[in-house]
Amino acid sequence: MLLNASGCLDGLTAPDVARSLDGFVTKTITPEPREGSPPIRIAETDAGMLNSIGLANPGRERFLAESLPRLRELGVPLWVSVGGFSAAEYAETCGALEGVEAIELNLSCPNVDEASESAAAIVAACRAATTLPLYAKLSPSAWDIAEAARAVEAAGADGLSLVNTLRGLALDRRTLLPRLGRGTGGYSGPALKPVALAAVYACSAVVGIPIVGMGGVQSGLDALELIAAGASAVALGTILFSDPAAPARIRSELAAEAYGRDLGHPLDARGVAHSSLQIIVSHSDNRGQKKPGNGRKLPA
């Protein structure tokens, strides 16, 4: 299953791109409207990019009244990303949502001040406010992300979204001043992939809830690696900026990667990275280690 990472696609300005996904994740919605961070908001770096959009959004009331009805017309399962500055704010928005596929709790935006409560306390408050599936989006900056994952699972999360961006800083080469208006921003792109893989790998070992893996995915093989680390679904972020046709391409590449490993479905590779007897090798490697039919299929 392919989704977009929250904040990396506007389903209203690019409906065809949203429809090419298995689900559309909205930008994070906060109770009050937010204009977002001052320009400049993005900067390319040597191995990725920084953004400091700052949760720009029309606020809960306008989202519910104007954006959500139009997004429903896309005909794509909707995931609503919810943010806030206290557990009560998160819970209020969750309680106001109905008829969507899932809610993703943005517990880890690097561009705004965080709520003072723990991620688990926010999840618990939201759990009490809605019966919709709740996915907790965690920060890869956590010292022990597996512990955070365990805590939000115990608090009632139905799934995890891993990972958000890492906080980063880029300086102007001439002035040596921050390139972004807000100073720091969220770091994304290919350099984030190993971080995402490590987070998915660590969390999938300790929780029983599904994981949406994201971070630096550019190809079907990248997506398969996240699945192998333990993800049940994959979200695309920065790649959508340069290639709006990426969902179809990556879906096709993912199917080919699975086929090349004698897997009936890409998700048959889920968790294979945890196996001590990992012998699934792509035919495309073509180094003679394997003939068709030798791959060991793992239970999904």
Partner: protein
């Protein structure tokens, strides 16, 4: 919008700039003032470039090599291929009675295409040096000034319908002189199609995406300055 792998048909130096021509293939060339996102070889993000020329099945882009991405684009050789996405954004309104084109520096990029569509109206172009001013040859009927003379000094009291593109100080000065001028602005952007929210600038008193609302804005204020240094802009 459509994304295609386009073949480089030509790359010629025009003063310090490079006129990169690609086969248009099945791409809609769009309207003057609209732009395309060009894949910059070796870089993560594509670069926004307005259409400079559109003729004989080609799209031309005038590029100033001021950063890693624009240098990569200017280094492309005939026959190489790059992904091109567009046309994007809102171009100039062409239903004008007395058009006057005004451009500054690399901001003249959309004016050759605009000039063709408007029947080659008069133009005023400003450049830093004579070398940069070699690009004036791309715009018919152009009056050229070199710093320290600025384009606003060449405007008559009744300049007509001004359509302009250039550095922000020039656009701000024009806006002060001609409030209803059509001005094509620039902002760093990662996607060009409304996905990244990176190109937000102040429009009508709010931060809005320039790629969705613009880049051509008429009679709508745009915050200034927002980009004091171009060195760090990802559009470079």
């Amino acid at each position: 919008m459509r994304r295609e792998l386009a073949r480089v048909a030509g790359a010629e130096l025009v003063g310090p700039y490079t006129l990169l021509r690609v086969d248009a293939g099945g791409l809609d060339v769009g309207m003057p003032g609209q732009f395309f996102m060009l894949e910059a070889p070796g870089r993560l993000l594509p670069r926004p470039m307005s259409v400079c020329l559109s003729s004989a099945g080609e799209l031309g882009f005038l590029i100033d090599p001021i950063g890693a991405g624009t240098r990569a684009l200017c280094s492309l050789q005939v026959g190489e291929r790059l992904h091109v996405l567009g046309p994007l954004g809102n171009g100039f309104e062409l239903d004008v009675e007395r058009p006057l084109l005004v451009g500054g520096g690399i901001g003249i990029a959309p004016l050759p295409f605009l000039s063709e569509r408007l029947g080659r109206p008069p133009a005023i172009l400003g450049f830093r040096t004579d070398w940069h001013a070699e690009a004036a040859a791309l715009v018919p009927h152009a009056e050229v000034c070199i710093e320290p003379t600025f384009v606003t000094e060449l405007l008559s009291d009744e300049p007509g319908d001004v359509l302009a593109c250039g550095p922000e100080p020039m656009l701000a000065a024009l806006r002060a002189n001609v409030p209803d001028a059509q001005l094509a602005w620039e902002a760093p952007m990662a996607c060009g199609y409304g996905a990244c929210y990176g190109c937000a600038v102040e429009i009508d008193g709010e931060l809005k995406r320039l790629c969705v609302e613009g880049p051509v804005l008429q009679g709508r204020t745009h915050g200034f300055p927002m980009n004091p240094s171009r060195d760090g802009a990802p559009c470079c």
